[in-house]
Amino acid sequence: MNPHRVVVVGYGMAAARFAEQVRARDPHGDRISLTVLGAERRPAYNRILLSNAISGRLPLDTVLLHRPGWGQQHAVDVRTGVSVLRIDRAGRQVLLDEHSVLEFDTLVLAIGSQPFLPPVDGLRAPDGSLARGVRTFRTLDDCQRIIESAASGTPVAVLGGGLLGLETARGLASRGNRVTVVHAVNRLMDRQLDQPAGAMLAEVLSDHGLTLRLDQLAVRYRPGVGLELADGELVPAGLVVVTTGVRSRTGLARRAGLAVRHGIIVDDELRTSDPNIRAIGDCAEHNGVTTGLVDPAWAQAEVLADLITDAGPTARYRDTPTVTRLKARDVELVALGDTQVAVDASDAEVLCLHDPSGGRYGKLVVRDDRVAGAILIGLPDAGATISQFYDRSLPVPADRLALLLGRVLPELPSRADPGGLPDDEVVCRCNTVTKRQLVDAWRGHDPSLSGLVTATRATTGCNGCRSAVHRIAEWLSGGPVAGPVAPATREGQERSDPVPTPMPNPTPNPMSTAILHPVAD
């Protein structure tokens, strides 16, 4: 039986993952012959890492997902620098630009998205290409050109204060550029954040050296000079990086007569309106949504690999919950779900914590005992924990505030005064000796430190509790008690400085104690 011929148009993160997943299920190509057509002249690379590359933290070649030669090693016909002119659906073939054709049994469109350019004068050259000094940020080539144009100290304007814009701005700022972010809406990341969160983020980013121009339309770019804003201000910029969103690439599909709205419309099996053609990743629209994110793209790649290899014929793609993470050093931001809910909303519980001087903001929206939305700035633990509750739709804890604060904080009895320890507190863990046993031993046995040790074996394990036992002895005697607790000769114990007791000592919490103590008390 001839293998089923699969042609993949596109060689980005979705396509690369799809090819890997097909080969994981059909390692030698017995069932599936695979051809991958990439328009760029290099193997697939990890777009997510480009913001690291722009900040200069990673050499560019480390972002490659595949080494050159990956295709040969995995029985995949990888062709780079190849574009598809047209799809011949009736003939089940694609026309390549060198006027050759390629036949397929199944065609997979993984052609991604392209940057959207707002209608601002001067961004395009007369021939329609980008004007000198203007860059979008999508490809590795873009990244390279931005790095080349942004010599240290060069003023840069970033047009668009969404996720990608802010990550780019932070990356460039850490290279030593003066960066101004121009955003048309009155708050940053307006799709994900509410007003106070946007304001907080603006504050934090300003503190980190970014200049922000919010609620400002750019009207004209003057090459080499700067960006003119609607209010007449001129933002100096040797380079403008345009990050005003992306649009799915749909032209090829549209010309072939496939159903297209924002993206190429697919069902749960990633099937387009032509059953022989599938689409995954940024170019695909599922349930009315084009995500532009890698997690759904990879989930789609896995489902499609299951279906095409017949390894999982019942696999279906379901919408994946979206969690937005700003990948910028020193700025911890998580946004998920429905965040534009007023604090006094009647149909949801909304918790809100606003700490302007600490640069922290937390908002938690709970509906039907589940996380419905959240924004967390400067609260990394809460961000990580709430994402888990949201992703898995787990019932939220009874103590909502504890969830918003991020860590479960046990109540701490006073350690300074042994009298404050509960009687059943274990003082010596190695030998499970409680305060009560020590007290009883003191009273019923031998009121001395060595008597306590003999009677209870406290301190004879790891010896970590010796100062606690000593304090209890002093507390019981009402005065100083002689002697270190050293029941057995200890090799390798030249460090004999006082040892803190192994007692609950929660990891440092970013929240100030001023907020915590009223809860614990």
């Binding site: 990890n46 990948k327 804890p397 499970t432 790891c462 990891t507």
Partner: protein
């Protein structure tokens, strides 16, 4: 010889720390701590009370044979004659592999060696494995892949004292080997103790930084930390270039695990990931140590490989004052895996399918290499096949309590019931022994000499302190008794431990775990000998890999591994993760420690730790009786509400018998390399118990031995 008034210097019978202790002989033997580097003169509660088992009324003192459904005392000759004749019959009809052997990581080196030799030579069976498969096998597999050789800690444990940073991954040492805590205290004082555990354990409470990954996601975390190490500029490029190979292939996988993605999968915040990498990378001296929590998964070997990859990227292994190590659990978990109880190995850590290894061992054993069987089934696969047409029909168990300790224990008990013959050698009537056709009472710690290899690969002499209880025999004597009845020459199975140890030296000479330079006299003199010890003049190898790793090119290997997730995920029907582990008062299946009144009183019954919110949702409160239900079985347990626990996680200790066996619910999904079962993650639901039960008294009613033992089978 030993001065009786001062007692006998020996080591603890329990975990791999092998704390130094002195046994004082009297009507009631007593224990005192003794200075020793691993324990620093400390003992935990188990160590202090260890002598009580020597005089326990529950000790077996006569062989037992099943007659009309009940176990009844018989003489040694009758028992051994019966076992040997049944073995002969079964093998004559069904072939050599119809008889299987199951060993333990608590056996001395001499017993482990003799057991492997007995299986391969006297029984001629390939079917031998041991409970260490359930313990250290994933770390061992990953260590061999990376370094070419596996020794739990390739450095003395005292090297930890000066570390700036120590990262403990899935290791709750404050409960499982308490005196070990002194070795990490320096790092803790310097603000450099990192603990990775889904639970806020006693060990986590000592930590500077505690990361709590979702159960079953350690592999993603390890991969993610390597990603961050590279992106944040901590890759030790000269070390990677000079001492390793394979980084590039690993990076292609690791590159796809950026920290925000790792946070989403593991629940560990990017900030904590970054702090963790910085603490490891910026330390002058840093160690990463793994325990069962990260190893006992169906992807356990891959997970350990990922931790080792992180260490290699940071240039830690094979350097003074830095490194990777696995914290061996069982008393002789290290030695037990080196001397031939493992299905695929021969003594000296030799591979059974290596012709040169076969020839070397066969020559020592005085047989033709062609007579040696090949590799057999791994532990769970061996148990799972028992009594089936493909599997063995008879099983000999030494030093293991599989009815409690194996995964999916209910099924394992069914397999034991399907056997034609079950023989168990033990010191007490363990749950497994209670199912046997023949029970052979054997000597224990302090009643016999023997060597142990501790967690740092140091060989120790555990000395005989008192005569054995009347009626019991040493395992070596039992094996000789069976071997001779099966036609073997008696001299092939010596019963003096020192003589057996000398044979281990010959059988391991030139092998990876080379003991040929060790003898009892050197051990009696107190020599600190870490293997390999390739000759009398060798002082051993306290620190391995300083010049080269054990692969033929001397380089360590980065091993490309990717994250898939646990074999079983929570769903609507089984919405919680369950994980299992140990508590301080008990050891392993609890067969020994449950018989010690002080320990039994400290932890009398099985329990399940659960977050109070989760308990309340299930209609349960602290102290209630609950059923923990998985696809494989149901455990009865007392609810302990713990506020620091994740809402989606419950924890059960695995030391309890009967309906309280945590392993009734665990998942026997196996690691592809180590064949380690997935003990640490499975999906469960929690419901109020539908029966009332007195858990504590059903624990203590087990294993009471009187003249006749009526145990239904």
């Amino acid at each position: 010889m030993d001065d009786q008034s001062r007692g006998v210097a020996t080591h603890c019978p329990y975990c791999a720390l092998q704390c130094g202790m002195t046994v004082h002989i009297g009507p009631k033997p007593e224990i005192a701590p003794r200075p020793f580097p691993t324990s620093g003169g400390g003992l935990c509660r188990k160590g202090w009370t260890a002598a009580e088992l020597l005089t326990s009324p529950n000790r077996l003192t006569t062989p037992l044979m099943r007659e009309n459904g009940a176990l009844r005392p018989v003489g040694w000759d009758d028992a051994l004659d019966f076992v040997a004749s049944r073995i002969a019959e079964i093998q004559a009809t069904h072939g050599k592999d119809a008889v299987a052997v199951f060993g333990g990581g608590g056996l001395t080196n001499e017993k482990a060696y003799a057991l492997g030799k007995f299986a391969r030579v006297a029984l001629g069976t390939s079917q031998i494995d041991y409970n260490g498969r359930f313990c250290m096998s994933s770390a061992a597999g990953a260590g061999i892949k990376a370094f070419g050789l596996d020794r739990g800690l390739p450095f003395p444990v005292t090297d930890l004292a000066d570390a700036d940073t120590i990262m403990l991954v899935g290791a709750n040492v404050a409960e499982t080997m308490p005196p070990f805590v002194q070795h990490v205290r320096g790092a803790a004082q310097r603000g450099g103790l990192i603990v990775i555990d889904p639970r806020r354990t006693a060990t986590a409470e000592l930590a500077t930084l505690h990361l709590q990954p979702a159960p079953g996601t350690d592999l993603a975390l390890a991969i993610g930390l390597l990603h961050l190490a590279v992106v944040d500029g901590f890759l030790d490029q000269p070390y990677v270039a000079e001492r390793t190979t394979g980084f590039d292939a690993v990076w292609r996988i690791v590159a796809a695990w950026w920290p925000e993605r790792v946070e989403r999968v593991t629940g560990v915040s990017v900030a904590d990931q970054r702090a963790c990498v910085r603490m490891l990378a910026a330390a002058r001296s840093a160690f990463l140590l793994t325990g069962r929590g990260t190893e006992q998964h169906a992807d356990g070997t891959a997970t350990v490989s990922a931790w080792i990859n992180l260490c290699l990227a940071l240039g830690m292994p094979g350097r003074m004052g830095a490194g990777y190590g696995c914290l061996t659990g069982q008393g002789n978990g290290q030695g037990g895996r080196e001397h031939g109880q493992k299905a695929d190995q021969l003594p000296g850590y030799r591979k059974i399918d290596d012709p040169a290894a076969r020839a070397a061992v066969a020559a020592v054993w005085g047989i033709d290499a062609a007579e040696l069987p090949g590799p057999g089934r791994s532990a769970y696969e061996l148990l799972d096949a028992l009594g089936t047409p493909e599997g063995s029909r008879a099983l000999l168990v030494f030093g293991s309590n599989v009815a409690v300790s194996a995964p999916r224990a209910g099924h394992v008990v069914d397999r034991l019931a399907a056997l034609d013959l079950l023989v168990v050698a033990d010191i007490v009537l363990s749950e497994t022994a209670a199912l046997a056709d023949v029970v052979l009472p054997v000597t224990q710690w302090a009643e016999e000499d023997g060597t142990m290899t501790n967690l740092e690969g140091r060989i120790l002499l555990r000395r005989k302190a008192l005569p054995p209880r009347v009626g019991v025999r040493g395992d070596l004597e039992v094996l000789r008794g069976l071997a001779t009845r099966l036609g073997q020459p008696a001299e092939r199975f010596p019963i003096e431990p020192e003589q057996v140890f000398a044979e281990i030296g010959r059988a391991s000479a030139g092998a990876p775990a080379d003991y040929s330079g060790i003898d009892y006299d050197r051990l009696r003199a107190g020599d600190a000998l870490h293997w390999p010890v390739p000759g009398r003049e060798s002082i051993g190898t306290p620190r391995m890999f300083l010049d080269r790793f054990a692969h033929s090119d001397g380089l360590a290997r980065f091993v490309p591994v990717d994250f898939q997730g646990p074999a079983e995920q929570p769903d609507a029907e089984y919405p919680l993760y369950a994980t299992t582990g140990r508590i301080l008062a008990h050891y392993q299946s609890g067969a020994q420690t449950r018989l010690i009144p002080e320990l039994a009183a400290a932890a009398p019954e099985g329990f399940v730790e659960v977050h109070p919110d989760t308990a309340a949702r299930m209609g349960l409160a602290d102290g209630d009786l609950a059923e923990v239900v998985s696809r494989r079985g149901t455990v009865l347990a007392r609810v302990h509400c713990v506020t620091s626990l994740r809402h989606d996680l419950v924890f059960l200790p695995f030391h309890f018998p009967g309906d309280q066996r945590a392993n009734l619910i665990t998942n026997p999904a196996l690691d592809p390399t180590s064949r380690m079962p997935e003990f640490k993650t499975c999906a469960v639901r929690l419901i109020p118990a539908r029966v009332s039960a007195d858990l504590a008294s059903s624990v203590t009613s087990q294993m009471k031995v009187t003249g006749t033992v009526d145990t239904d089978r």
